[in-house]
Amino acid sequence: MGTIYLDHAATTPVHPRVLKAMLPYLQEQYGNPSGVYHLAREAKKALEAARERVAQFIGAQAQEIVFTSGGTESDNMALQGVARANRGRGNHIITTSIEHHAVLDTALALEKEGFSVTYLPVDEYGLVRVADLKKAIRDDTILISIMYANNEVGTIQPIGDIGRVAREHNIIFHTDAVQAAGYLPLDVNRDGVDLLSLSAHKLYGPKGVGALYIRKGTRIDTLLKGGGQERKWRPGTENVAGIVGLGEAVGLAREKMQERGARLRHLRDMLIAGVLGGIDFARLNGHPEKRLPGNAHFIFEFIEGESLLLSLDLEGIAGSSGSACTSGSLEPSHVLLAMGIPHELAHGSLRLTLGDGNTEEDIKRVLAVLPPVVKRLRDMSPLYSQNAEVSNC
């Protein structure tokens, strides 16, 4: 019996069609796109075809797409780049308290450089209030950075409304769409987005490649300096195979969006109903409806997340506790805390994120395995017997 992989928000397997598209560029098509000879021109063509596909995916122009090494670089480039290029115009940035660390830690670093940052609060479902945004805007606000969908609890923000507010005030608007891409419609013009971050490995593409959409005319500095690649926006020999993979992945995502969403929603709802119905002192985090189709995020009171994850792993179930990159850390999730969930509960979170490979069988098995695992850990927990009905261990 294989692993049941339920951590698609951390990363997804490379789709066979994506790998197939990449392989020539890891083999005979090894040209450096900057060369003038045939092999180089072929690589260049592949690069530009991928750029066209990414542009179509978000309703942009090809020349507005810059390829990067992933979501983190895209977010850093957006925030650091806009901040530095607009220092003269103002020094205030608005973001939220539930952004990915790639945005949050960049904002913190910019504070140390003298920028002033407002971190908007969220409600109990993880939703930003547009009224809060409006109140936070100042004359010297140069950037609003608000994610499209949250990587932990899956809550979807009202990105169109936010874009309208940003536009009314003539403020640059960045959205981290790393988790939304492939699940929610992206249209930078409809939503008034000036900068948008993507990462290939969240949508069945390879790790280590992403893109930043930069609306024509946006004032932004580059993060890396060097050669003339990406029209100087992002120097460095291009990860041609990875970029081709990203192009194929967004192509696939476009084709599959409807069907994928419906399938995942069905499985997710089955999982949520089963967990909440079958385990006491369990709660769902994030918004009941405005959530990513594949995201189920729970808290099990009285137990701690890592021991839950390891126990599930031993049953062949791969899940996560909060975001992947913080599961080595001991701090509870900043997202859960921002949603008003107390420390002690935040430690007991479990994120299960579904993907193309999952089936109803998988969900049934999770629903069979999870209750005894939770019970076993609760039986060991000094909090359980104190706080709830007495366990009979």
Binding site: E304, G328, L330, P332, H343, M380
Partner: protein
């Protein structure tokens, strides 16, 4: 990330529970930090004759809790007080650095239980 020994103790922890009418109770940690341990002991003739634990925490916290109970049982109070968090970690073939501070509290919990016993018996 964890040694085989940690995983073994995490998966098959010994001495889970609470001793009824214990001679000493020690509780350390704080649920805000993600780890809390309660150890109860039974003492006879200056020897620890029974130890049980309850732990809210990660695999390291559970494994160290289980390990300390096994290490403490049969020891004199004096010997038990010589057990350190470090020696527990060593007995588990080490812990990941990030876990050394926060989740490695089992010896502290045992010592707290012993101090509670000493207070009661004076």
């Amino acid at each position: 990330m964890y040694s085989a020994k940690v995983m073994e103790f995490f998966l098959n922890p010994k001495n889970i529970g609470e001793i009824e009418n214990p001679d000493g109770v020690g509780e350390v940690g704080n649920p805000r930090c993600g780890d809390i341990m309660r150890i109860t002991i039974k003492v006879e003739d200056d020897h620890i004759v029974d130890v049980k634990f309850k732990t809210f925490g990660c695999a390291a916290a559970i494994a160290t809790s289980s390990m300390i109970t096994e290490m403490a049982v049969g020891k004199t109070i004096k010997e038990a007080l010589e057990l350190t968090n470090r020696s527990v970690a060593d007995a588990l073939d080490g812990l990941p650095p990030i876990k050394m501070h926060c989740s490695n509290l089992a010896a502290d919990a045992l010592h707290a239980a012993i101090r509670d016993y000493q207070k009661r018996s004076h």
